[in-house]
Amino acid sequence: MTLLKTTEMNMVEVNLVEAVNRALSWELEHDHEVLLLGEDIGVNGGVFRATDGLQSRYGSERVIDTPLAETLIAGMSIGLAVQGLKPVAEIQFMGFIYSALENILNHASRMRNRTRGRLTCPMVLRAPYGGGIHAPEHHSESTEAIFAHIPGLRVVIPSSPGRAYGLLLAAIRDPDPVVFLEPKRIYRLQKERLNDKGEALPLDVCFTLRDGEDITLVSWGAMLVETLQAAEELAHLGVAAEVIDVASIKPLDMKTILTSVEKTGRCIIIHEAARTGGVGAEISAQLAEYALTSLLAPVQRVTGYDTVMPLYRLENYYMPTVKQIVTAATKALEYA
């Protein structure tokens, strides 16, 4: 961060969804090629109010209420992007993103490669994701692993208001397509002071949220709440846990994770998504490939189950808990 003069400060107290709104607003104001599109994002300001007030401020040509059609939303974004605009599309919930996959995988993530750089796709697809808010069916899943497997794409997940702001700005400015997943469980969890002056954070790097020598806890999105709580509990037990927010799921900054695990020798990966084939598997596999000799204990994954996300009565049983993380860490520490 560069030092700012007082006049360059625009400090605000915002929660995560307000930070998203601020980032969108900043970019709409400062880059006339940016536009937003999606269902109910205009007059209604989005079902989570992420785009609240933006249509009245920037007009309905730049903040577009689309018909109810996700294939269209993704496909149209590609068309806008190849024309040099910077579309930021909202998929109302991640559960409805699958109709957009063909366009994401076969077109957006490949346009640059297909045309050897002649046409590019600087677009962002935002979607709230994850469980824990007692939402209706299909409104609580975490399928980031599907997107993390797609070459040419970036997948970014913020876990705090500040990172939401900085990473969303970075995503919009990035010349390539980004799937930006917003952990809706923590949309309003806490406010944070941030300087609303349009400063982006780097993509493709992990953020170390807490330093520690004994064990590395790796997570992203809303699960960082439980992960940080677990680190706190572990501290009470005399265990110093390092907590890493992966933030950019793809491309993956394994360097930071490897460096940490080489130091601690122990690692727990925590994510809400189903275990099998989750992003945790990739991280664990790379640890086993590149840090095997540093590992003092098996890498464990504390994750959602390989079940359909249950309707809300049972969703808390599905979600990884602080206790599960602490138990896993304790087990890891038991290895000599």
């Binding site: 269902e39 109910d40 205009g42 007059v43 209604n44 300001g45 079902v47 209420d65 018909p67 109810l68 059609a69 996700e70 294939t71 269209l72 559960g95 409805f96 109709s99 007692h134 939402a135 209706p136 069916e137 299909h138 409104h139 275990r275 189950y305 390989d306 079940t307 359909v308 249950p310 309707l311 809300y312 009565r313 049972l314 969703e315 049983y317 599905y318 808990t321 599960q324």
Partner: protein
């Protein structure tokens, strides 16, 4: 070029906004008993609906999508369908579901976050509520195809909203239904809104019914707040489909008198005057007026229906509230017919979690 908005889509209304008959009741139609049944289902739906919102507000139910003002379509549809027909509904088609025998307690369980709410005790072949918009249109094609090749005299009925008509699934389904001349009736419950998007921003077409031209199947519009029109027109469509004359598209014009769901605030985007105007066309009031004016039911009889609906709903709410919880490990028990060995450990783990928390 031809202006594709110029087609003359027929529009049917029998009972007008004032409760006056504008067309004679037709042959196949609606005797007084039918009408009273429609009234009963509409009222039961509305009673359920108000109660559900209440339960949501008091933390006893999750987010809930009200069907306020749209009861006529489902009441008529439920009556017009045969028991062994199959319904592929959205989340707002309670009237049809209740009329077909799905229980209030089942609907509550569903919105109360419990999968057992989709394990219907009756009409066990009906599809569960489809939340992803328009996906059930293609499912209904498969159901109707099965009926056709098995030479059954059954019909599949698929309901969607006006918003759903923008989704590709709907066109793929209609097109297939046209190609194979399937026993499949599509009904658009056009309530003028898709959350905050008004009908006129959803599409440039003059009617939604005309979209049938993309599949070469017949279509029409009718007053979806006129339960008699709904019943007459749906019955004709079902009869045709049952006779092997193929699929069709019906557009029922209605209005969402509620917020989109309990999580929505329509005040942000819907002009209050529009809402006020639409209350005049309430399908329940309309039929009541007709009953009273023609002396078919008196206030006392109407009141008795009201009371009986209240009783059913109370009893069903009790049943809902007293339903014992599912075990946490039940999330594994319907994943596959036989749980793969590799998932046994996870099942044990969540079971343990349940025991610790319970």
């Amino acid at each position: 070029m031809i202006n594709s908005n110029s087609a003359n889509i027929p529009y049917y209304q029998y009972l007008d906004h004032q409760g006056h008959l504008r067309l004679p009741l037709e042959d196949l139609s609606t005797n007084t008993d039918n009408l009273i049944d429609f009234y009963r289902v509409m009222l039961l739906t509305r009673t359920f609906d108000l109660k559900a919102i209440n339960l949501q507000r008091t933390g006893k139910l999750g987010t809930y999508a009200s069907s306020l003002g749209q009861e006529a379509i489902g009441a008529a549809l439920g009556a017009a369908m045969s028991e062994d027909d199959v319904l592929a509904p959205t989340y707002r088609d309670y009237a049809a579901q209740l009329s077909r025998g799905i229980k209030v307690s089942e609907l509550l369980l569903y919105w109360g976050g419990d999968e057992r709410g989709m394990d219907y005790q009756y009409v066990r072949q009906d599809l569960p509520i489809c939340v992803p918009i328009a996906s059930q249109t293609c499912h209904a094609v498969g159901v109707a195809y099965a009926m056709k090749i098995r030479k059954q005299k059954r019909v599949a009925v698929c309901i969607i909203g006006d918003g759903a008509t923008s989704k590709g699934d709907f066109y793929e389904a209609m097109n297939a239904a046209g190609v194979w001349q399937l026993p499949l009736v599509f009904i658009i419950a056009n309530n003028q809104w898709a959350i905050s998007l008004p009908r006129e921003k959803q599409t440039n077409t003059r009617t939604l019914a005309q979209k049938a031209a993309s599949a070469g199947i017949p279509s029409e519009q009718f007053d979806g707040n006129d339960v008699i029109a709904c019943y007459e027109r749906i019955s004709i469509a079902l009869k045709q489909a049952r006779k092997g004359e193929g699929a069709c598209l019906l557009e029922a014009l209605t209005y969402r008198l509620s917020d989109h769901t309990t999580a929505d605030d329509a005040g942000r985007y819907r002009p209050p005057e529009a809402l006020k105007e639409q209350w005049q066309y309430d399908p329940i009031v309309r039929l009541k007026t007709y009953f009273l004016e023609h002396g078919l039911l008196n206030e006392q009889e109407l009141n008795a229906i009201d009371v009986s609906c209240g009783d059913i709903v109370s009893q069903q709410v009790d049943e809902y509230l007293n339903t014992a919880a599912q075990t946490p490990e039940s999330m594994f028990d319907y994943l596959y017919e036989n749980l793969p060995e590799s998932l046994q450990t996870q099942r044990e783990e969540v079971k343990q979690k349940g025991l610790e928390n319970g």
